[in-house]
């Protein structure tokens, strides 16, 4: 038994790559996941982006917008330009931002809100309601904004609420005495000052019934919400396994040929290394297309994924994704000296990219920083494209950023693979 342990230990110690995989790989993945998912509680990095459309232009709407801006959990945007420049947002622009995925929620304060509020105060159910334009499939952002909105209406304009309340009181119970009026007039500015400094307005949102009316509007207009969610998982899992199969395919395409000697024989024919790599890439890309198509077809059959209504976008994204994945597989296969190296390195790379790029956990639920880091991965661009097609109902031409990046990656990867493959040519 001791001898067996010794053999195992010696083998492990002398295979540095295997040793690194045993100890470093779990630590690496733990760190990545801790960063991706553990950082969610940090409000500095998980602020929800909200577009605020002020159609009312009243004191109330300004106070509400200001109150939302003061919330640490939100990042408010009121202009067409994200940096604060450009014209103020209108309803259509707010809706567009949600539909394009730039913000998860747009708050629209409709015209007449301030006037109705001044007349009716807290019981403003008959007046216009604040609209929350959102992608209701996002389980977090709309609910959070709804809660914060209720809080802000209670805390941002307490003086206006009281004034509206007193007006209603007078309507039903008769006018206040001059002394009462003087006391209220003295109190209201203090209340306003408290709300502005924030000293008296903190705490949990008040009961919804006492706030303004809020109507949540789903701007995605998805006919099949479950289908959209399934399409996200089909794309997420599909892309991750596409990468695995491309690497395995490229590995067997090249390293097996090297080991069996067929590469040597192929290179002595008319085909040459460039022709050989092109052929291998084309094969892998076609297999990748078939793999994703089968996955989405199964999604359609088993889970009602709306494949046929989104066919052009699906085909474009599938072709671009499979082409880039095949090229990446070739880079890794030409980079690796052995199958063990290929397997170890590609596992690290693919799982890391899948975690950061949103194959395991939707990127729109990650912090903004992590979303930006995710853009460095292959998966993020592929998944963004699929989400545009199936979730945001984007037209095919709107996929150009994703197709451009994936196409660019394909060219870069193929160039790198060709350069690395020089080592198999004349020594």
């Amino acid at each position: 038994m001791g001898t067996l342990l010794r053999i195992g230990w010696l083998n492990l110690r002398r295979d540095r790559v295997a040793l690194a995989l045993v100890f470093a790989l779990p630590i690496l993945f733990f760190s990545i996941f801790a960063t991706v998912f553990g950082g969610q509680g940090d409000t500095a990095t998980t602020r929800i982006r909200v577009a605020v459309v002020d159609e009312d232009r009243s004191e109330l709407s300004a106070r509400l917008a200001d109150g939302l801006r003061k919330e640490t959990g939100l990042r408010v945007r009121t202009t067409a330009d994200a940096a604060g420049a450009g014209p103020a947002l209108d309803r259509a622009a707010g809706e567009r931002l949600v539909r394009n995925g730039d913000v998860p929620v747009a708050v629209v304060i409709p015209k007449g809100m301030g006037e109705a509020f001044a007349k009716q105060g807290l019981m403003g159910s008959s007046g216009p309601a604040i609209l929350l334009l959102s992608d209701v499939s996002d389980p977090v952002a709309p609910q959070m904004v709804l809660g914060l909105l209720q809080k802000v209406t209670m805390t941002a304009a307490p003086d206006m609420m009281v004034r509206g309340g007193i007006r209603q009181f007078e309507q039903y119970a008769g006018a206040m005495t001059p002394g009462q009026k003087a006391a209220v007039d003295k109190w209201l500015p203090q209340l306003k000052a408290q709300s502005e400094t924030g000293s008296g307005g903190s705490g949990a949102p008040q009961a919804g019934g006492m706030g303004v009316g809020v109507e949540v509007v789903d701007v995605m207009r998805t006919d099949n919400r479950r289908g959209s969610l399934v399409s996200f998982y089909a794309a997420g899992i599909g892309v991750m396994f596409l990468l695995f199969s491309s690497v395995a395919g490229a590995g067997s395409a090249l390293l097996d040929e090297v080991e069996s000697g067929t590469l040597e024989r192929l290179l002595s024919t008319n085909i040459g290394m460039t022709g050989l790599l092109t052929g291998k890439w084309l094969l892998l890309a076609l297999i990748g297309c078939a793999q994703l198509t089968v996955m989405f077809l199964w999604g359609r059959l088993a889970f009602g994924l709306p494949l046929f209504s989104h066919l052009p976008g699906f085909l474009v994204m599938t072709a671009a994704t499979a082409a880039a994945a095949a090229a990446l597989g070739l880079v890794l296969a030409t980079l690796a000296r052995t199958r063990a190296q290929l397997s170890g390195f590609s596992t690290i790379l693919i799982l890391t990219m899948s975690a950061l790029g949103g194959s395991m956990f939707p990127r729109f639920l990650m912090s903004e920083n992590m979303q930006n880091i995710g853009l460095l991965t292959f998966n993020a661009w592929a998944l963004d494209g699929y989400l545009k097609v199936f979730w945001r109902q984007a037209a095919v031409w709107q996929l150009w950023p994703q197709v451009l990046v994936l196409g660019g990656l394909t060219v870069v990867f193929l160039g790198a693979a060709r350069a690395l493959a020089r080592r198999w040519e004349a020594a």
């Binding site: 192929l266 290179l267 002595s268 040519e425 004349a426």
Partner: protein, 312 residues
Amino acid sequence: MNVLTVTDARKKFGSVVALDGASFELRQGELLALLGPNGAGKTTLIRAIAGRVRLDGGEIRIFDRIADGRRTPPELGIVPQEIALYPLLTARENLEVFGKLHGLSGTALTKQVDWALEQTGLADRAREPVRQFSGGMRRRLNIACGVLHRPRIVLLDEPTVGVDPQSRDRIYDVLAELAASGVSLLLTTHHLEEAEARCSRTVIIDHGRVIAGGTLAELVDRTVGRFRLVTLRLDAPLAAEAIVDVAAAAPDISADATDARVVRARMRDVALELPPLLERIRRAGRSVDDVEVRGPSLQAVFIHLTGRELRE
């Protein structure tokens, strides 16, 4: 006519010298053996000719054209040491794949595939996957894939490694037929018997350098000479006083280092020199249990040139 001339080929891999000024030539229609121990530089030389290794120095000339060392010249057919076949494909499919990559198509391809299957005796197994083939059959198909496009020069790297004697004979029959049709063949081997029995000429390479080349007779003449080696096994060792008498009949006689009953003598004319030796042994009171007469061999040549036996 020389179809291939290698002059002063030099190649280093890091600090290891693989080729150290190797020179030789291959003639039209001959079967030339490149003989040498493992690590002598045979495979490097073959790969350099095939355009798969770039030489540090020297020149390779194929049909009066200097090879650039970047790609395989179209006149060449390569048979690598490994079984470079796709195991899941049938014999015919393998041949078709490599035939197409060599530029064959249509009826020319079909004709050549049929010819190659016939030549290698695999016609009746053409539709079976290669993974079901024996080692000898795979070797033959490996050769067929390299000669399918009718190259004028064929380079074979250890074409008979790991095959049984019957398959080996069959492989050499195929090679002999190719040579008879005018194809020039260069094969590497470390099997002395094969080089001796089946090749028209032999080039001996050691430490990256060609140390001799020619037919067996030429090599023998140039090295060990045309002596026969006579080995006698006696019933008992010769007595010390008898050795002088026996040695008078055969000046080159010597006793085996490990078995004193075995004595060896080099003879130019066995019929003339052996009877007096046997007579003197009889007079010394010994009888002969066994006699072996061996002609000059490549083994003897190799030992003479390198001072050591050829390792497997």
